[in-house]
Symmetry: D2
């Protein structure tokens, strides 16, 4: 009953096996090998167009360096107030940008409200050096609270981006979970909806350590190899990332694992919705479930072997929480079993 | 006949197997799992004292963040003119330090000359804000040109460090190769000789991607978890690094692979020394061999399947190179076979 | 009728004259001259204790470098949501800190609410590398909206700072205006109330360009000469700043000019309060007056020669503003005349 | 007999007077006043073309921000090994660039040798992310050792810059001294010889604190207002810099003061050349004289009231210095009198 994080799982057996299969033999280092080239081509197929793909080691790096590539002096990157880049990266985006700022925008359930965004960006006059100036917009798909932006929502945000000539970045640490939730294609969920740069995450969905920055503007991408190397994210034995993505995409494994994780979350949500000890805070859109219950109930569940974390109540959330009630996060993954979920269901009964 | 780099090899089979063995099951993320703790304890055993160990993803990161931990405003880090941190990291150390400078010191065959170092550090008066001030000293063991610092040499450098109250960092991307070359213990080669911080590399010696910053001053280490996270080097599924180190140390594998790579380099060196088409630039101390030969000879060897790179002649090297002669680097690894080396020997005959 | 900014005024005649008086003769550069030493001693007298004083060229620099001196990896500096460092320095504090973040705290009328501050700081667990960690607290005295922290208010904030071992910084761009408003001594308004670092501004109160970072912890100050030089804020002919401060303090000029500016603001406020075309948004505490009026009224006033700017409505301000009404800022200075103020009074009638 | 530095002098009386003359009255802040506009126009006249002009407070800032404007990820800025930006700014250029590196190039007497420059730049292959890549070239005019680049020399360097598409920056802290030494026009010494960005210094030549970044590429200049503000170099009462430049240019004062300083240096050099206690290290080109003499002689001169500093012997200087002999720097300025110089001449006899 481990619902602590999708990061508590290891690697999917097919990914682990492929990594082992590529352990022998020589390959040019630093991403110049055949496997790297083949996997990069695979990205182009998946996104149905030419793309620039840069492997990096962590989601933090993918996000921070994506924003570096969009930044300019005095730049502001707009993101959701409770986004991962704002709350959970120890200031890495600003550190890598050398001090440019993240600007918090509100919106219900982890999704930026396009009108709030337009107002926030609009506050900054182009020539006002005192206030700084917009440089990028970043959305998280799926969001930190397990919801998913619909395609129309993404397009509404990209309209603001276009109006102000700002690149739109998608933090896709849970890209696959959102994708299968929407039933959209990767192209539809990104460049066809106005996204310019994607942090494409594999780690949370069954890889060990496989993240990629995907860029649709090949001109912008020209700087990126220096941005990545300078940031200590160019791996010498880069094929160890390529081999993970290779297995990840093979036979659509990535969509299977994401669909499984999402299904487990739905199953878990049904148990919680049907329980009288806890209730859903909101409907899950991907592989995270947020529930409201008293601390005592949570303690009881933990004692019986369940693992999950308390979550800070979002600023704008009004879920009718009573005194003593708290918000809790449950995360499922490729490794979650229906048995485990059902066992939890019995426990919470 | 692949002597291009120790990074062209993949992972040692026992390391690949151990990684696969740890793929299943749940573990707390971000280095809080049992395997991480066990491997960190192993580091303490190896170094014969309490140490702080921080896994990171690349040697570039290990070096850059080690220097960040030692830096201060206006700081200068002294390193060899042709060290890896100076020549091959796209300025990553300075980038992560936010602008502090690397200061080049000379010395024969890739090793800092202690007297030159004393003179260089001594140039900077403690109170001269215009010139900046020393912050750290960094040596590379084994060096970029395949030589090894003897223990007395390290101690002579650490005396300069002590005199000026500067921490001494060792870039140990090829730590194991130097260690078996010296026949020293890890303790002797580091803290017993005055080293304060080690970039402990596993990648070049048979791991996929396993580097660690090892600190002997636990107080200094308190800042490091923030330094690492902010730098996008805290891996969520950290056990994938731990599992590599686990197998790396198990049964002394790391010393075996290093000893093998060194032996292959010696064997290769003997072939070159005995050839009339090329000659050794200097005696190898670890797993890199540098040879002098005309470009035509190198092309002939490449055509017959050998892979190796030209190397920029060190500033202070006077090897009696004739017009048209060039310097070439050959690197061996755990994966190099005696057959391959001997086949090269026959080719160069 | 120039109420655009206290920066639109030039220099007070006595300051201009003293600068001219010190133009001839030789003085050691970079702050090592006698005049610099004498003026620094004057700061110690004013603050009734030993202090470290560092001249810099702009308020932006004083604030940014103060925060640099308090920063640490992953650091967060807490300030008011609408403070100057947040809204009007193009991200300079974060740039100089190399990426550490400003964290917005709310509070009525430009003053941080101590409870909100305690809650904000308390959110960050000491060991949570993901979220980063508190590094400093910064208050603005007088605030950006012309109000002043009382001594008890400062002490309440410094209690939060002490509890979390955080240095407390005061942005004193309008230090003198606040001081005379409170009728307190410099010591009372700073270290006796728990302030550790002061950006001591002279520019807005009659100097050309005279700002100083004042530190009460002499140990912390040891790093600062490097922090300042590296930041391009060590002036070679430093006496040109010293000469300004020299005249500024001479005979209490600084308190006179501040008292005059404040009195002019009060006079202006009375005119506005008595007008039926505009009303005060809140009572002024120093030398800034904020008024509510329709754009048409403001345009009429501008046409008749008044100069003042629109001000963005503070997030938490509920001043019963009607549709079409806007918020406007008026700033007085040493140069403002009672005639000018009264002429404005007649105009707004 | 003060030859310690041109920074030991104060301000020229006409500059001090003009500053006082502009002290009264209101002017829009942050460089938006009429005087600023008028002085900027004057720069355009002086350079015989449209230019972008940005006032800053220190030469360190002018240099660092010029390089920021030319920088890119992994960038290297080439400068003379003993240039001011390398030796005397506490790493400010790298700090403001966020870590990009200065790359030392050699050349006799403080001037970059074009062939060495070509070789240094040529070492960096455009696609080699490991080594980083050239971003800018910076020369100092007059140099740190008082010599001056001839126009052909500048053109030879700008050819290297053009070949590699690198902007050429001129550190003109002593721009006027070099200009009158060459008898060239500002246009000839800069853009007509291939210079793209100038740090135009007024401080050392009679101003209090007046430096400007002058850009000939107006497109590049578009970013600069943000680069300057973010770097705390936008002065609120900017007219205090404008007023200095106003008087500086009026009636060619700047050329007069520079010519005077240079003449004083020549006069001083003749005294030294004619002395048997000291000898010239090399011929002065501007307002600095370097002499060789034993420490005892220097001490004797200091005791008799002369002020001057020891200078670190340049790496490539072979001036036949005997044991016990040292190198000393003498700087003249607008304030130096012929009497003082002659008194020194008598003393050194």
């Amino acid at each position: 009953m481990i619902f602590a994080s999708d990061n508590w799982a290891g690697a999917h057996p097919r990914i682990a096996a492929n990594l082992a299969a590529h352990a022998s033999g020589y390959e040019p280092a630093y991403g110049n090998g055949e496997l790297d080239a083949r996997v990069q081509k695979k990205f182009a197929e998946i996104f149905e167009r030419e793309v620039a793909v840069f492997f990096v080691g962590t989601g933090t790096a993918a996000n921070a360096l994506s924003l570096v590539s969009a930044d300019r002096p005095g730049g502001l990157s707009f993101c959701h107030r409770e986004s991962h880049i704002m709350d959970d990266e120890c200031g890495a985006p600003e550190y890598f940008m050398g001090g440019s700022r993240l600007f918090a925008v509100d919106g219900a359930l982890g999704r930026i409200d396009p009108e709030s965004l337009a107002a926030a960006v609009g506050r900054f006059a182009v020539d006002n050096v005192h206030a700084g100036r917009p440089a990028a917009i970043s959305i998280t798909q799926a969001t930190e609270v397990g919801t998913v932006y619909g395609l129309n929502h993404i397009r509404a945000i990209s309209e603001v981006a276009r109006k102000h000539s700002l690149p739109l970045h998608m933090d896709g640490a849970r890209f696959a979970n959102a994708l299968v939730s929407l039933g959209a294609t990767p192209a539809e969920m990104t460049w066809k909806s106005g996204v310019d740069i994607v942090s494409f995450g594999g780690t949370k969905n069954g890889c060990w350590c496989a993240e990629a920055v995907v860029m649709f503007d090949l001109d912008r991408a020209k700087e990126f190899s220096f941005i990545r190397k300078r940031a200590a994210q160019l791996f010498s034995k880069s094929r160890f990332i390529a081999a993970q993505f290779d297995a990840y995409f093979e036979g659509g494994l990535w969509l299977e694992t994401a669909a499984h994780a999402n299904a487990m979350a739905s199953r878990l949500a049904r148990h919680i919705a049907g329980s009288n000890k806890a209730r859903l805070a909101w409907q899950p859109g991907a592989n995270e479930v947020f529930a409201i219950m008293p601390e005592a109930t949570a303690m009881m569940l933990q004692e019986k072997g369940a693992r999950f974390y308390e979550w800070l109540k979002p600023a704008r959330f009004d879920g009718g929480m009573a005194d003593g009630e708290k918000l809790w996060r449950f995360v499922t993954s490729f490794a979650t079993t229906a048995d485990d979920v059902d066992r939890f269901g019995e426990t919470i009964g």
